[in-house]
Amino acid sequence: MNKTSKTKLQILWSMKKWPKDYVNWRLTTAYPNGWKYAIKHPIIFLKDLWKFLNWCQMIDKEIK
């Protein structure tokens, strides 16, 4: 990862401005019951989040 790439923490931090409705929609896209599924399956949710953050870093490189 080069110095200009965002770390996973920075990517997570940049998501803090996402409105609740938008986060809810994203969870509904990923899971059949949206946020309820994420709460019932926290390990799956964390694994998916990790994969997503890896993907964000890969896409950031692509954009640059």
């Binding site: 929609w25 509904t28 896209t29 990923a30 059949p32 599924y37 896409i59 954009i63």
Partner: protein
């Protein structure tokens, strides 16, 4: 400079938010500058509410994303009751994406939307759905089914009618011609490419439905070739999409014949990316002394 017209509708920018990547439209209005978005295409709406496919239904792959969400959506009644009035207040146009399993489904959804108070300027018909009455064959892979579906929907509305084509066909230009001759106002091309992912250690499928649609930068060269082929066969506008991740990609899509372009997968990385692209496209045009966006359309040698 960036504004353009399709039929009687003026869009302030050629850059559109692709269906399924921008919520229904209202969820993002606090984080994006709607003045810099040409149009929003809603998540696909079906006749009834759908939960979609079981988890896992998204797989992040190299330079792309595989999804088999299964048209999860709130259904046309809830959409008209809970969403459409909020979308009327967006400071940009919106188009409703429609999906269905039978011709009757599409007709029901469009009819309900026509009777609603929505100020949508048109419809994008997602024909990459299995036709239950034709043994599950996708509407979009058969030119006769596309012709019949487009003709029926054309009779029902004067609003813009875009037909969103699947790239998973032998001759996409034939399907585009069918849509054009049956009354479509534009062709949206292309939807996702059929793909698959498995775990090399366990052999397990990484999507619950085994197959999914691949989008993102990985498909860009494939999408460009499909758009170029369509553009050279039809007279109505092409709305190009498929792996746009930089402003230079937008210019490439315009040059191969897109009148407008849709940004999809990148919205998952940054929902405000379209407004950034708007500024970058404007700068590109100033730097290269291009006065009108239409000067770029089809300009490839």
């Amino acid at each position: 400079m960036l504004s353009l017209k399709i039929k009687d509708i003026t869009f302030k920018s050629p850059i559109i938010a692709a269906s399924g990547t921008f919520g229904y439209g209202d969820e993002v209005q606090k984080i994006v500058d709607m003045n810099k978005i040409g149009c929003i295409i809603t998540k696909s709406i079906t006749a009834d509410e759908r939960e979609g496919n079981p988890h896992p239904r998204i797989h992040e792959s190299t330079s792309g994303m595989l999804n088999s969400i299964g048209l999860s959506n709130i259904g046309v009644k809830n959409f008209c009751d809970k969403k459409i009035l909020k979308l009327n207040d967006l400071n940009t146009h919106f188009i409703v994406s429609i999906a269905g399993s039978t011709m009757e489904d599409y007709i029901k959804v469009l009819d309900t939307l026509e009777k609603s108070q929505g100020q949508h300027v048109g419809y994008e018909i997602n024909v990459s759905c299995p036709n239950v009455k034709a043994g599950g064959m996708e509407f979009g892979i058969n030119k006769d089914m596309v012709f019949q579906l487009t003709s029926e929907l054309r009779k029902m509305t004067k609003k813009l009618l875009f037909i969103k084509l699947s790239p998973n066909v032998t001759d996409i230009e034939d399907i585009a011609l069918s849509a054009e001759s049956s009354g479509a106002d534009a062709i949206s091309a292309v939807n996702t490419f059929l793909g698959m992912a498995i775990d090399y250690k366990t052999g397990k499928f990484l999507l619950s439905s085994k197959f999914g649609g691949l989008s993102g930068p990985a498909i860009k060269p494939l999408a460009l070739s499909k758009i170029y082929k369509i553009y050279n066969q039809i007279k109505i506008p092409v709305i190009g999409m498929g792996g746009i991740s930089k402003v230079s990609d937008i210019v490439e899509f315009l040059r191969v014949g897109s009148t407008m372009i849709q940004v999809g997968t990148l919205n998952y990385r940054d929902p405000s990316i379209i407004s950034k692209f708007y500024d970058q496209l404007k700068s590109f045009m100033i730097e290269n002394k291009i006065n009108d966006i239409s000067d770029l359309i089809g300009d490839c040698k």
